[in-house]
């Protein structure tokens, strides 16, 4: 099994490994990490073939490129020695092909003159083909990795380019260029990564119960999955005739992947309770910028409302169903329960969850007996952070149409603050508990 060098984006570090692992699983590729550090964009992996390397990386959002590893070293002497040992027997295959060399530095750079001398130092490979800066048959890249403010690189790699990742797609879906967005639309890059981690792909059926302006369905549709979206807020689903979720799908030419959007509440879902979904991706409302509400009356009086003239209120045109604030923990458990009821074997749930940065995370990650937590990726802000939790539906244990949701005690209360600890902490500015006194 040959070794490959993956050059990752030095961003969203905790998402990088789960993304590659998910893609490997989706494409049925054996992937073994040889060297990986969150502090470095260079990652060494072992894969079975060149074809696997290409397949794995083409869809990756957090990968710049994958190269066949031709050598590595702590300085140029050791790099050249390694290149000679690994690849001398392969040089004749490249003798007459066109090629180009380039040099990339991480946390350090050199002037053009030293670039040429570095490139010239590989002349012992004796390639005779023409040098082409565009569309060369083979592209060789020298990767230098510097320590902070060090004059010489601490690690150097030589790789032959195999494939590039999907990073350019991020700018295609950039929210700034999207016709219909709202204050809480998910960043295009993270939405695409979420779709990758949830293994969205052609032929699959995905659902987002909190679609908002449709960011996740669009990301899943980009990878060929058929998408259903819903939201409790009918205004975001319908929006205006010229700006709504469908115009977004149209903008990206993805209309054929939009199955339907409708207005519904997850706690009273109209979806048939059987295991027919391949994936669920969602960013539930945190209750900070958007209300965390479910159907029901705030006063708890679930009575039929009748107008003075005797007609029931809910049959009047323009009736708006009453909603009440809901506990955030209960909502997360509801999502997990829903996923357990609806996902096919090994189907994935990828869900975002906010936390205070100093909170004990292990205690607050929701659990469900039919779901296995696969990864927890973190995006930190100043005093809070949010996590992308990904679960796998464990095979077997087929559930009936109404699998009871395990009963649990949630905080009592009727105001948003009582029900949602995160919201409370957010508006208190995440003050240190000891200083509250």
């Amino acid at each position: 099994m040959p070794d490959y060098l993956i050059r990752l984006a030095q961003a969203h570090e905790t998402f990088r490994k789960p993304e590659l692992e998910s893609l490997a699983e989706l494409l049925d590729i054996r992937l073994e990490f040889l060297e990986y550090s969150p502090d470095s964009p260079h990652c060494l992996v072992r894969l079975e073939s060149l074809k696997d390397a290409e397949k794995l990386i083409t869809r990756s959002i957090l990968t710049d490129s994958i190269c066949e590893l031709w050598g590595q070293g702590s300085d140029y002497a050791s790099l050249h020695a390694d290149v000679k040992e690994r690849t001398t027997h392969r040089w004749p295959d490249f003798l007459h092909a066109s090629f180009r060399f380039s040099v990339f530095g991480y946390q350090g750079k050199r002037d053009t003159k030293s670039h040429s001398s570095i490139i010239d130092s590989f002349s012992y490979m004796g390639f005779l083909g023409p040098i082409r800066m565009k569309n060369a048959d083979h592209e060789f890249i020298v990767f230098e990795e510097y320590g902070i403010r060090e004059p010489e690189p601490k690690r150097i790699f030589l790789g032959r380019l195999v494939a590039r990742g999907s990073r350019p797609v991020v700018s295609k879906y950039d929210l700034k260029k999207r016709s219909y967005i709202s204050t809480t639309s998910m960043d295009a890059e993270l939405a695409l990564i979420t779709a990758n981690i949830a293994k969205a792909s052609a032929g699959k059926l995905f659902y987002d119960p909190f679609m908002g302006t449709g960011g996740f369905p669009i990301a899943c549709a980009h990878f060929g999955a058929m998408c259903i979206g819903s939201d409790i807020d009918g205004r975001t689903v319908r929006a205006t005739p010229d700006r709504n979720p469908l115009t977004n799908f149209k903008q990206y030419g993805l209309m054929s992947y939009c199955l339907d959007n409708f207005v519904s509440d997850l706690t009273n879902s109209p979806l048939k309770c059987e295991r027919w979904l391949d994936g669920i991706v969602c960013d539930p409302p945190y209750g900070v910028r958007e209300g965390l509400k479910v159907l029901g009356s705030r006063t708890g009086l679930h009575k039929l409302v009748i107008f003075e003239d005797g007609t029931p209120a809910h049959l009047a045109p323009g009736f708006i169903a009453p909603k009440r604030p809901y506990s955030f923990d209960a909502m997360l458990d509801d999502i997990l329960h829903f996923a357990a009821c609806m996902l096919v074997d090994n189907g994935r749930l990828s869900m975002w969850m906010p936390t205070a940065t100093d909170e004990d995370i292990a205690l607050s990650i929701p659990q469900n007996e039919h779901l296995e937590l696969l990864s927890s990726c973190i995006q930190t802000f100043n005093k809070w952070s949010r996590r992308l939790l990904t679960y796998r539906r464990l095979p077997g244990s087929v559930t009936g149409p109404v699998m009871p949701r395990p009963d649990k005690e949630y905080v009592n209360g009727s105001t948003a603050d009582d029900l949602n600890n995160f919201r409370k902490m957010y508006f208190e500015g995440f003050r240190d508990k000891s200083s509250k006194g």
């Binding site: 209309m255 054929s256 048939k272 159907l295």
Partner: protein, 162 residues
């Protein structure tokens, strides 16, 4: 609402869910529209084992659409058989088939080289292109009516039904 989506919908009320009469929702005073979308045989293949065929037949009847064959087709019927060169109406359903298909799709990913049959094209037209733009969806159990406007259904319930 595409007809495919309707085969996945039931009454939103928790008390109706266990009742067989709450599924499927019955369309009334429906206005249908054909909205063309790209043909996706890979999706149809993966969908077939999850498709509730008797429900689809009920919906077709409710909408006054041409009747469907009695038995759900097999995966093979979605593709032209190379030696026969025509759509095959194979009505025999094998119990184990469904599971195999899903695994198959997982493995093969995006590969599908066989040519689609007329049946697959008809199913595509019915499930993914025939859309209910206006009308009501009625629960056969509680009688609650869910409105569909401009192709978007509203499943929110008044407080007394939650």
């Amino acid at each position: 609402m595409k007809i495919l989506t309707l085969t996945f919908l039931t009454c939103a009320r928790k008390s109706c869910k266990p009742e067989p009469t709450s599924y499927p929702l019955h369309p009334t005073s429906a206005e249908l529209e054909i909205i063309p979308v790209d043909f996706n045989p890979l999706f149809l293949r993966a969908l077939l084992p999850r498709l509730d065929w008797p429900t689809l037949r009920i919906l077709c009847e409710a909408f006054g659409l041409p009747g469907l064959q009695e038995e759900a087709p097999e995966e093979d019927a979605l593709f032209l058989q190379p030696e026969e060169g025509g759509a095959m109406e194979d009505v025999e359903v094998q119990g184990e088939k469904g599971k195999e298909v899903v695994e198959d799709v997982e493995k093969k990913g995006e590969e599908e080289t066989r040519e689609a049959s007329q049946l697959a094209k008809d199913l595509h037209h019915l499930l993914l292109e025939t859309t209910m733009q206006e009308g009501k969806l009625v629960c056969g159990c509680c009688g609650h009516e869910y409105a569909v406007k401009e192709g978007i259904a509203n499943f929110l319930l008044p407080a007394h039904l939650v």
